[in-house]
C-alpha cells in the first residue's frame, strides 16, 4: 500500500500505472467528455450518468455516478481544475456531494504523466486535508507510511 500521513497532517495515497500508449493520448483521455464517458464511468458496478466538464484552469467539472445495483441513486462529485499542464500534469479538487458520507470534504487529485519506455506512466496522488481547525492546532508532524498503522491494527489482540 502506498499511502502516507504527511507532515501537515494530510493523508495521501498513490496509484501508479504504466500504459502502452502515447502521453498525449493518455492525457487527453482525462479531459475530453467523450473519452471520460467510456472509462471514468463504466466499471462492474458503476456507470457515469452525467458529465459536465470545462477543461481549463479554474474550469469546473461535475460527474454523476449511477450505481448499477441501485438505479435510482446518483452520486455526484465535483471539483475545479487548478492546473492543466499538457501533457504532463493535471491537478484538480475532488469533492463528493450530499448525501454521501464524505460530502463537502475537500480532497485534491494530482495526476502526473511521465514518458517511459513502452508508453506512459500515470502517477495519481489523492490527498485529503485536515479541516482548518485541526490544521491550526497541528504543530508537530509525522511522515510515515500507513503500513505502520496496519501493523498496529494487526497487533491488536481483539
Amino acid at each position: 500500500m502506498i499511502a502516507e500521513l504527511k507532515k501537515d497532517g494530510s493523508i495521501e495515497l498513490q496509484v501508479k500505472r504504466t500504459l502502452a500508449f502515447p502521453r498525449e493520448l493518455v492525457f487527453s483521455a482525462w479531459l475530453k467528455a467523450e473519452h471520460l464517458m467510456k472509462w471514468m464511468g463504466p466499471t462492474q458496478d458503476i456507470n457515469l450518468g452525467l458529465i459536465e466538464i470545462d477543461p481549463q484552469p479554474k474550469g469546473k467539472y461535475r460527474f454523476g455516478f449511477d450505481d448499477k445495483n441501485c438505479l435510482d441513486t446518483r452520486s455526484f462529485v465535483h471539483g475545479e481544475f487548478l492546473k492543466i499542464t499538457a501533457p504532463s500534469q493535471l491537478v484538480f479538487t475532488w469533492i463528493w456531494e450530499a448525501p454521501l458520507p464524505e460530502a463537502g470534504v475537500l480532497t485534491l487529485v494530482t495526476v502526473d504523466f511521465h514518458e517511459v519506455e513502452g508508453g506512459t506512466e500515470m502517477v495519481l496522488t489523492h490527498q485529503k486535508f485536515m479541516d482548518k481547525e485541526s490544521c491550526e492546532r497541528h504543530n508537530a508532524g509525522w511522515t510515515g507510511t500507513l503500513d505502520k498503522l496496519q501493523a498496529l491494527l494487526a497487533g491488536q489482540t481483539s
Partner: protein
C-alpha cells in the same frame, strides 16, 4: 456532511502527529497497560503524559478501564480503521478507473 466521522479522522491524524503519542499507541496496541507502565520508557513529565493521554482519548484511540485502584489503558482500533478505510476506498476506486482507461485505450487504438 458527516461531521462527527470527519472530525474523528482529523482528530486521529492530529493524535498521531506527535512521536510520544505514537509510542503510547504502539505500546498499548499489543496489551493493556497502566499509566505508570506506559510512562516508564518515556521521558515525559506527569502533566505532559496527562495531556498526551487526553488527546488520544479525545481522538477515540484510547480508553481507560478501572482495575482496582489503577486505570488500564486500552487501544481502540476504530479511528485507525477509519483512516485505512479512506485509503483503501480510493485505492480501489482509482485502480478500477485505471483498468477501464487501459481497456478503453486498447479499444480505440484497435479501431484506428
Amino acid at each position: 456532511m458527516n461531521y462527527a466521522r470527519e472530525q474523528q479522522i482529523d482528530d486521529a491524524f492530529f493524535a498521531l502527529s506527535h512521536p510520544v503519542r505514537r509510542r503510547i499507541i504502539e505500546q498499548i496496541s499489543t496489551t493493556d497497560m497502566s499509566v505508570a507502565e506506559v510512562s516508564a520508557p518515556l521521558n515525559e513529565t506527569p502533566s505532559q503524559m496527562t495531556k498526551h493521554l487526553h488527546i488520544l482519548e479525545r481522538a477515540g484511540m484510547l480508553s481507560r478501564h478501572k482495575e482496582g485502584r489503577t486505570h488500564r489503558l486500552h487501544m481502540e482500533p476504530e479511528p485507525l480503521k477509519e483512516i485505512m478505510e479512506w485509503v483503501s476506498h480510493y485505492q480501489k476506486f482509482w485502480d478500477e478507473r485505471f483498468d477501464a482507461l487501459e481497456e478503453y485505450l486498447h479499444n480505440i487504438s484497435e479501431k484506428t
